[in-house]
Amino acid sequence: MPEAAAAATPTPPAAAPPMLAVDRLAVAFAGVPAVREISFEVAAGEMVGLIGPNGAGKSTTLLAVMGAAPVVGGEIRVEGASLRGRRTEDIARSGIALVPEGRHIFAKLTVEENLELGEVSRANGGEQLEAEIDVRELFPVVAEFRHRAAGALSGGQQQQLAIARALLARPRLLLLDEPSLGLAPSVVEDVWATLRAIRERGVTILLVEQRAQITVQLADRSYVMNNGEIRAQLGPEEAGDMEKITTAYFGAGAEEKR
């Protein structure tokens, strides 16, 4: 009897699928593995950190989500829909934005033109973000220099432009790759403030960073990656525990070596 069968195996109330679900993702460049079967999830509205040393596979993971890295195994789902085999531009247009490492602003185009390019995805059915973000209010610098060549901005201003450009697509999921890289400490503070503000407006964020402590403190959850694998998971309450972060970062045995 179908009803009895249903009662015997009670299904939990259908929960909404997570914003991002990475399941046993494997990436390899010409046979050399860069990401080895990692799994993690990011729920809607969450901010999740991905920390680890250089070459751990963090950036590759983000590029794999964007369809810009050679995935050799596993699944990437956004709100339940698989992204595998989809083209980068189609993934961008489905409401997923990446602020790439090194910012990749268009130096010879004006600030305004860079922002216009951010709207490419929105114009085509993006508009996933419920809370309207006034980019010009959030990034006064960007509004001030709109007619200047983007390459003439300072590093911090370029980073702001890169984030503003990504937000103009009104993404449901924002991926950031080392937004603090190469910036002066005071400017890095601005970046964190910006991320807090974006998150308060309900954008789901996956943040890749080398600055471990601040990331662990900011994010709802942080995964420590090394050598293509996820080695540990840390909560914000562990941000003060440098020893624990260091151990997770460099693996067991790091303590003795020091």
């Binding site: 964007m66 810009a68 083209r87 980068t88 531009e89 961008a92 247009r93 934005a97 990446l98 790439p100 990749h104 268009f106 130096a107 010879k108 185009l109 033109e113 216009e116 390019l117 951010g118 490419v120 995805s121 085509n124 993006g126 450009r165 697509a169």
Partner: protein, 296 residues
């Protein structure tokens, strides 16, 4: 010999070469592809004018544009699209293959001796005659069409959404795709524009000299290619100026050299090219301070 006459003719031919250069430089800018098969678009448009010579002139011209654009689009779709992630040497060889395949087709279909596309030879009549200087209609057409198409391309690139996306893709293709710029679309548009340029070149060249041979577009393309390398390949403006310059020089030497030395015309042009590349490898029109490495 009349210097004013020589200069006027050289400027006219320079404009035609500039149009070839725009077509080549757009494709190179967007997808870093040196399209040796661009000349076949010109030849295709030329043979269309041969075949359509019985039609009213505007229809024949429109048909040549349609054929060149369709062939350009098809070339990208069939041959170059699947090679987009391949090594530059592979794609370069592919453009040679397309060029030679099409050339063989022209040879089989139309023969080696050439056919006459005698549609616009009336343009060779003088428009302005002053003393011993004659400005023919075809020279005015070359300047006018060259200026209009160059202006239209500039407007498209600087004032439209697809133009902005093309400039972004030319600067950093991957970053553009990450923002949702459709690679296929941007590249197709570049090929369509290069098809329009090729048809315009075919119309102008046949107006001056109606014979269309299987290598009709090849020679001008190779020379224009040399011009854009000399001018500076990575920028549309420098590439266009380079194309203009080589067309100008070609026409100038053709008029200045005595008849018995005219066989050395290509040698003379290439000698200038070699000297320029030795002195200024980034291209003569590239801004000061740009390096050779930046170009590719």
């Amino acid at each position: 010999m009349n210097w004013v006459q020589t200069l006027v003719d050289a400027i006219g031919l320079g404009s035609v070469y500039a149009l070839v250069a725009i077509g080549l430089a757009l494709i190179f800018g967007v997808m870093r592809l040196v399209n040796f098969a661009h000349g076949e678009l010109i030849t295709a448009a030329g043979y269309t004018l041969v075949v359509a010579h019985a039609l009213p002139v505007p229809f024949a011209i429109a048909l040549s544009v349609v054929v060149a654009v369709a062939l350009a689009w098809l070339m990208e779709r069939v041959a170059f699209r699947r090679l987009r992630d391949a090594q530059p040497a592979t794609t370069l060889v592919a453009t040679f293959a397309v060029a030679f395949a099409l050339e063989a087709i022209w040879l089989i279909a139309f023969g080696a001796r050439g056919e006459s596309a005698d549609l616009l030879s009336s343009l060779n009549k003088p428009a302005i005659q002053s003393g011993d200087v004659t400005i023919r209609w075809v020279t005015i057409a070359m300047l006018g069409v060259g200026g209009i198409l160059l202006g239209a391309t500039t407007l498209l690139l600087n004032r439209t959404k697809i133009g902005l996306q093309m400039r972004a893709a030319a600067a950093d293709f991957r970053a553009a795709r990450l923002l949702g710029v459709r690679a296929d679309r941007v590249i197709s548009v570049a090929f369509v524009i290069s098809g329009v340029m090729a048809a315009a070149v075919a119309v102008l060249l046949t107006a001056q000299q109606p014979l269309v041979t299987p290598t009709f577009g090849l020679e001008i393309t190779i020379l224009a290619l040399v011009g854009i390398v000399v001018g500076g390949m990575d920028r549309l403006t420098t590439a266009t100026m380079g194309g203009f310059a080589i067309g100008f020089l070609n026409s100038l030497f053709g008029n200045v050299l005595p008849d018995d030395l005219r066989v050395y015309l290509p040698s003379a042009v290439f000698l200038v090219v070699i000297i320029v590349l030795l002195v200024r490898p980034v291209g003569i029109f590239a801004p000061r301070g740009s390096s050779a490495a930046e170009r590719l």
